[in-house]
Symmetry: D2
Subunit: 412 residues, 4 copies
C-alpha cells in the first residue's frame, strides 16, 4: 500500500473496515469487504478469496472476514500409539511451510513404529482462570483466603450455572500483599474452554462481591499462564498433562535414525546445559514445530502453542544399551469441540485422526504427545549424527537440483 502520512484528524472518519448488516457474514458481504480491502491496499486477494469454508460458517470464529488463509498440508505416519485413549496407527496432518518438517516427523514415527509404538498417558486435565481480589490490608486479604473454602459450594453453584460442560473442581487462593490471587480450577471436557471458564469465574467473582466477601476484583492476572510461557505451567492445571515414551532398540536407532543411544544421551546432556544457560523454560528439541503444524491443521488455537510447548524431553540409555525416549508435556491445550474444530479442513484433519467431536480430547492429546516424541527423536538424531543441515538441504527451499529419494523409501 502507499505509505501516506498518517491522517488522524479527529473530525474525520477513521476508515474502519465497513460495517455490514448482521456483522456481514453473507457471501456477498465477505466479497464486498474483500474488494474494499483490495481497493484500499491496492492488492489482489485472489487466493484469499478461494476458500471452501462457507462464509456464514465463519461467524463466531472471525470478524471482518475477507476469506481464508491457506497453509500447505502434509501427512506423516504411521504413528503407532499405545495410549489409554489412542490405540493404533495414525496418519498425522501437519500444516506448515517449513521444508523438511513433515519428513522429519515422519522419520521419527517410522522409528517408533519399528520399536512397537509409543506409550502415552494423560495425567491431568484441567483449565483455570486466575482473578485477583483487592483488600484494605494484609490481614483482610489473609482472612479472605482462609475463608474461601467455606463458600466453595456457593462458588461452584454460581460458576456452573453459566455452563453445561465446565465443572469447578476447586479454588486455590494465594495472598500477595493485600490482594489475593485465586486460581479457579475447572474441568472443561473436550473444549479448550477458556471463554467458558472466564464466564463462569466472572459469575463466581460477582457472587463474592454480592456476598460482601470482596469488593473489587480483576478477572484475569495472567497467573494461570494462558498463552504464556511460565514455570508455573509445570505444576499442571492449564490443559492436559501428557507423557509419551518409547523404548527404541539400538538397532532401530541405528537403522532409522542413523544414531546410537549413547549419541542421544550425550546430545541430551550438552543441549540441556545450553537450555539451562539460556534460562529456558523446560527443555525440548522443537516441540513448537510439531504443535504449530498440528494446531493449524486441526483447528486448534495456535496461540496456545506457547503454553503447550512447555515440557521436558528425556533420552536415556537402558541397561541393555537401548534408548528410552520420552516427552512430558505439562500444559497441552487441545480441543475436539468448539473454537475452530467444527468445520472445513480442521474438522477433516481431526476426523483423519478419529478425533472429531465430543469425547475425543484425551485421545487427541495422546496423539499430539506421541507426535512430538517422533519429532524429538528425529531432531535429536539429525543433530547427534551431524545430518541436520543435510536434511534441510534435501527438503527445504534451497536444496540442490537433484531431488533424491527419501531415505525411508526403501523401508516401505
Amino acid at each position: 500500500m502507499g505509505d501516506s502520512t498518517a491522517r488522524t484528524d479527529k473530525e474525520e472518519p477513521l476508515g474502519l473496515v465497513p460495517r455490514l448488516k448482521g456483522q456481514g457474514y453473507a457471501r456477498e458481504d465477505v466479497e464486498h469487504r474483500r474488494r474494499w480491502v483490495e481497493e484500499k491496499t491496492a492488492c489482489r486477494l485472489a487466493h484469499v478469496g478461494s476458500h471452501s469454508i462457507p462464509t456464514e460458517a465463519m461467524r463466531g470464529n472471525v470478524e471482518n472476514p475477507v476469506g481464508a488463509a491457506q497453509v500447505p498440508l502434509g501427512v506423516a505416519g504411521p504413528l503407532v500409539v499405545r495410549g489409554e485413549h489412542a490405540r493404533g496407527s495414525f496418519y498425522v496432518p501437519l500444516a506448515t511451510t517449513e521444508g523438511a518438517l513433515v519428513r522429519s516427523y515422519e522419520r521419527g514415527m517410522a522409528a517408533i513404529a519399528r520399536a512397537g509404538g509409543a506409550e502415552a498417558r494423560a495425567c491431568l486435565d484441567e483449565n483455570r482462570v486466575s482473578p485477583v481480589f483487592a483488600f484494605g490490608t494484609v490481614a483482610e486479604a489473609h482472612d479472605f483466603a482462609l475463608g474461601l473454602g467455606e463458600v466453595f459450594e456457593s462458588l461452584r453453584a454460581a460458576a456452573e450455572a453459566t455452563t453445561r460442560h465446565g465443572k469447578l473442581l476447586r479454588v486455590e487462593p494465594r495472598a500477595v500483599g493485600r490482594e489475593v490471587i485465586v486460581d479457579f480450577c475447572y474441568y472443561t471436557a473436550d473444549a479448550q474452554g477458556m471463554n467458558m471458564i472466564a464466564r463462569a469465574t466472572e459469575a463466581a467473582c460477582r457472587w463474592l462481591v454480592g456476598a460482601r466477601r470482596a469488593r473489587d476484583y480483576l478477572l484475569m492476572t495472567g497467573h494461570c499462564s494462558e498463552k504464556r510461557a511460565s514455570a508455573k505451567l509445570f505444576a499442571g492445571g492449564k490443559g492436559k498433562r501428557v507423557v509419551a515414551g518409547a523404548l527404541l532398540p539400538a538397532r532401530v536407532v541405528k537403522t532409522y535414525l542413523h544414531a546410537t543411544p549413547e549419541g542421544f544421551r550425550d546430545l541430551w546432556r550438552r543441549t540441556v546445559v545450553g537450555h539451562l544457560h539460556a534460562g529456558a523454560v523446560g527443555y525440548n528439541g522443537h516441540y513448537a514445530n510439531g504443535l504449530a503444524a498440528l494446531f493449524i491443521a486441526c483447528g486448534q488455537d495456535a496461540a496456545n502453542v506457547v503454553n503447550s510447548s512447555v515440557g521436558v524431553t528425556n533420552f536415556e540409555v537402558t541397561e541393555a544399551g537401548d534408548l528410552y525416549a520420552s516427552v512430558t508435556l505439562a500444559s497441552l491445550t487441545v480441543a475436539t469441540v468448539g473454537g475452530g474444530t467444527g468445520q472445513g479442513t480442521a474438522r477433516e484433519c481431526l476426523e483423519m485422526l478419529g478425533c472429531a467431536g465430543a469425547g475425543r480430547a484425551p485421545k487427541f492429546a495422546e496423539i499430539v504427545a506421541a507426535t512430538l516424541l517422533a519429532g524429538e527423536l528425529s531432531m535429536g538424531a539429525a543433530l547427534a549424527s551431524g545430518e541436520f543441515v543435510e536434511a534441510h538441504e534435501t527438503y527445504g527451499r534451497n536444496r540442490p537440483e537433484e531431488s533424491n529419494q527419501p531415505e525411508e523409501s526403501e523401508q516401505t
Copy 2:
C-alpha cells in the same frame, strides 16, 4: 479411523505414505496421496483438497502434501504507524478461529488511530545458532574460548561462503565446564534465516575442526532459544528487537476503550504481580494471539510465535493524566522473503501490508509491534472495564441471538 491394534511386525512394511516420483508434487500426485489417506483413514478430505496454491509451489514448504489447511481470515484496521520503516495506515490480515480476536485488535487500532498513531522502532536485527565444542579439560576449553577472536576472519569466510545473504557479525563464546557454547551471530536480511545460518555455522564448525582448534561439536544446543521461551531472549539476537508505543489522551481511552489511564495503571500492577508469581517469561496481555493470527496469515513460521511472544507491555499514566502504552518485543522473528512468504494467501497478505519481498522485513516488524500494542490496549481495557466476558459473548461462538452492531460502528 479404526483404532486397530498396532501392527509392527518387523518384517512387514510400515505403511508409510506412498513415495512418488520427484517427491510427488504434481497435481495428480497430491490427489493420489490424498485419496490414499482418505482410504486409510476412512475420511473425506474435500476441504483439504480445495486449495488454490499450485501443488508444485508447495515443494520446499511441505512434504507428503495432500492439500492445504484453511484458516478464516479477517482484517483489522486502520492501524496507524509512525515507524522508521512503516509509515501510514495499514489494514492487518489476521487468520484465526478465536471469535472476538479481530474485533478486539480493531478496537485497539481505532484508539491508536484517534491518538495519532503508534510510534515503532526496530533496535536490533540478528539471528544466531549456538553450537557447543567439547574439550578434554577446563583449561583447554578456556583456551579455545580465549583464542576464538583470533580466527574470526576465517570463521566469517567459511560461514559466508555458504550464503549470499547471511553476514556473520561476531562470535560469543561461553565456557561451560570443559565445553564451550559459541553463539554465532548473523544478520540475515529479510529472511527468517535459520536454515541459512545453520548451514553457515556448520561450515564454520568444520573449519575449526580442520584447523585443529576443535575435535568435536554439536551444531545446536538450544542456547539460541529458537522457538523456545527463555530469559536469554531479552538480551536480543534472535530476530528483531522492536518497540512500539503510543500516547493516548484520557478522552480517547474513555471513548474508545471504556477505561481510564488510572485503570490501566492499576491493571498493570496487579497483573504483573500475577506474572511474577507464575514465573512467567516477561509480561504481556495476549501477544500470542496477535502473533499467531498474523503469522498464519502472512506465511511466517508459526512455531516462532513462542520466542516472538517474549516481551514486556507497559502502561503509564503521564503527568498530564493521559496513558502511555508500549510493547517491547525482544526477539521478533519475521521474514518477507523465503519460507512460506512467497506464494498464495501469504504473499497476498504481505502485499496487503506493503511488506512482500526483499527490504521489507523491518517495516513488517514495526507493523507487527504496533498490532500487538493495539491488542494489549484492547485486552487491558476489557479487563480493566470488566467487559471481557461480554465482548466474547458478543463475538464468540456462544453469543446470544441478537446480533448487535459493533460498538465502533458509529465511529466510522
Copy 3:
C-alpha cells in the same frame, strides 16, 4: 600460604586436617587443630581463636572446628509489628559488614513505626523433600503415581516413625517420562527440618521398595528447591509463606523517607521492568541483605537465604494518596530450635526478639517479613529520592571525614 606445586602422589598421605579422639571437640583439640592450620598456612589465627562459644557446644554444627568467625552486629529498631504471633516493638539484630545496611533498615522501621506498625501474616508452613522413582515404562510410572494415594497411611507411618516433630501432610506425585517425582510435604514445627524430613522420606521410600511399589529411587532431585532459586517456590511448601504490609501516610513517607507515594509507585514500575528483562525470580529491592544479616545473627542456615529471598515487593498509592507497601515471601526458611539456634550469640539474638525455643518460629517469621518490609521502604526511598549514593557515602567505609549525625536523630 605458599603456593607450592600440588603434591598428589598416590602413595603419600593426603594431608587431611588431623583426626582427633571423639572428633576433637575438646578445647585443647580445637586449639591443637588451629595451631596445625596456622603452621600449615603460615598464618596467625588470633581472632579465630577468640570465641566465647564452648568448643564442645560446636559438636553437631561444624566439623574440624578451629574457632569461630566474628561478624559485626548492629541493632535496628524499633520494629513495630502487628502480626498474629509477633505483636509489639522489636529491636532487630543484624550481623553484617555492609556499611549503611543497619541504618537503612532502621530508617524503614522508623517510618513503619510512625505509620502505626506493619501487619504480618504467615499463611503456610511446610517443608518438603522430592525423591524420584524410576520405572520401566511411561505406563508403569503413570500407575505408580495414580496409586500412591492408596498407600498414604503406610507412607505416613513409615515417615513419622523416624521423627517426633515432623508430620507428613501429603504426597504430590508428578510423572516425568518413565519416572515419577514425588513431593513429600511435611510440617516440621519450629525446626528448619531438612535433615529430619530427609530421614523420614528415606524411610517412606524404603517402604515403597519393600512393598514392591518401586524398585529404585533417588532421595533428592532439587525439585523441592531447598537452597535454590526457582519459580516453583512461589507455590509455597518450602518454609513459610509470609506477608507483611503497612499503610504509610504521605506525610510519613515525606518526613521519614524523603519521598512521595507517587515516587514509590513510579520506582516500582520501572524497576519491575528491569527485573522482567533480567529474567529475575520475583521482584525485590534487597531482601538478601536483610535476610543474610538476620540469619547470621540468629543462627539460621545462611544458605537458605537463596530460597528465602524469592518473593514480591509491592508499592501502591491508595485512593487517599498514601502509600501501601507490602512484601510477600513465598518460602521463608526460619527456625527457633535445632541447627545453629541454641547457643552463643545466635541464642542471644533470638532472645532479643523473644523468639528463642519451641513455639516461636511463626513469630520469628513475621518479624523477618516486617524487617524486610522496612528494608524495601528504605531502599526504595533512597533510589526514588536520589539519595542512595549519599547514604552509602555517609555510612560506608569510604565516607567523607565529617561524621554527620543520622538524619533520624532529631526524630527520637
Copy 4:
C-alpha cells in the same frame, strides 16, 4: 521481650537506638548501647559482647554496633587447585552451623586431591549497575540508546573521576518502551565494588542530564541482578565467571566417594529433570552451602550468595569410564579488599588461603569454585550411593551416641 501493644503516638519519641557522639564506635559507646538493648529486651548479651574485633574497626561496616555474632568455624582440606592464579594445596575455612557440611566438603576435596587436583579458570571479571532513563516517546528513547556510544568517553571520564580503582568498560543500552535501561559495565579490581560503581554511575548519569541527553533517571533497576537470582546472570558481568573441573578415575570415585561414574551420570540426568520441572535458575547440588560458609568466614557480603549460586554443575562419564565433573559459576561475587575483608577473623581466613589484600581476588575466585566442585562431588556421591541420610546422622546434631571415626581417617 515483652510483646506489649505497639505504641506509636506521633508525639512521643520512637524509641530509636540511642544516638551517640561520632556515631558511637568507642568501646564504651558499644557497651552502653548493648546495655540499653539488654534493658529494652530483658536479655543478656554476654556472647555478643565477647568479640575481639576492636569496636572502632567496625565503623564503615555496621551501624548501631552492640558486638559481634560468632559462627563456628571449621577447616576442610587439602583442596588441590591447578588454576591460573591459585596453585597448590589449600585449607579452606568454613563458617557454618550445619552439621556434616565441613566433612562433606572435605570428602570431595580428598577425592579431588587423589585425582590430581581441580583445574580452575576465571573467564570474565566485571560488575555493573543498571540505571533507567525516561523519555517522552519511544523514538526519543531509541535515539538516546543509539547515540550513547558517541559520548562514551565523556561517560567514562565522569564515572572514573569518582574512583581510583573502577574502570568503565562499556555501556549496554536496552530500549524498553519509552525508557532505556543502560548496563554500565566496570572492572572493579579486587573489590566487590558495588558502592564504588554506584557512585561512578551516578556521576555518569548526572553528566547525561547536564549534557541534556536525559532529563530523568533512576540509578538502579535490579536489571544488573545484584543479590538476586536471574537468568541474566548466566550472561556474566556480575562478578567473576569461573569454571572448575576435575577428572576423577573410576577407582577414586569408588574409594573416596563410594559411587561410580555411571551413578553420577544417572544422578545428573534425574536431578536435572527435577530442576527443570521446578523452574530453577541453573542446576547445582548445594552451591549455597559452600558459598555461605566461605563468605561468612572470609568477610564477603553474604547476601551475594544469591547471585553467586547461579551456575551449572556437570557430570560426565569419559570414554575411559572415568568421571569428569565441573562447576560453572556465572556470577561469583568475591573480594579481597574493602567491605568486611580487612579485619578480624575475615582477614585471618583470607590469609589462611593466601588471599588477603590487593591482587588476590582472581585467586580467591578459583579457590571458591574448586571448593564448590568438592561439595558437588560429595553431595552427588551421598545421593547416588544412598548415604545422604547416614552422613547427616553421623555428623549432625541428632547423631547416635557412638561417635565413629570419619571414613577418611584411614586414608591420611
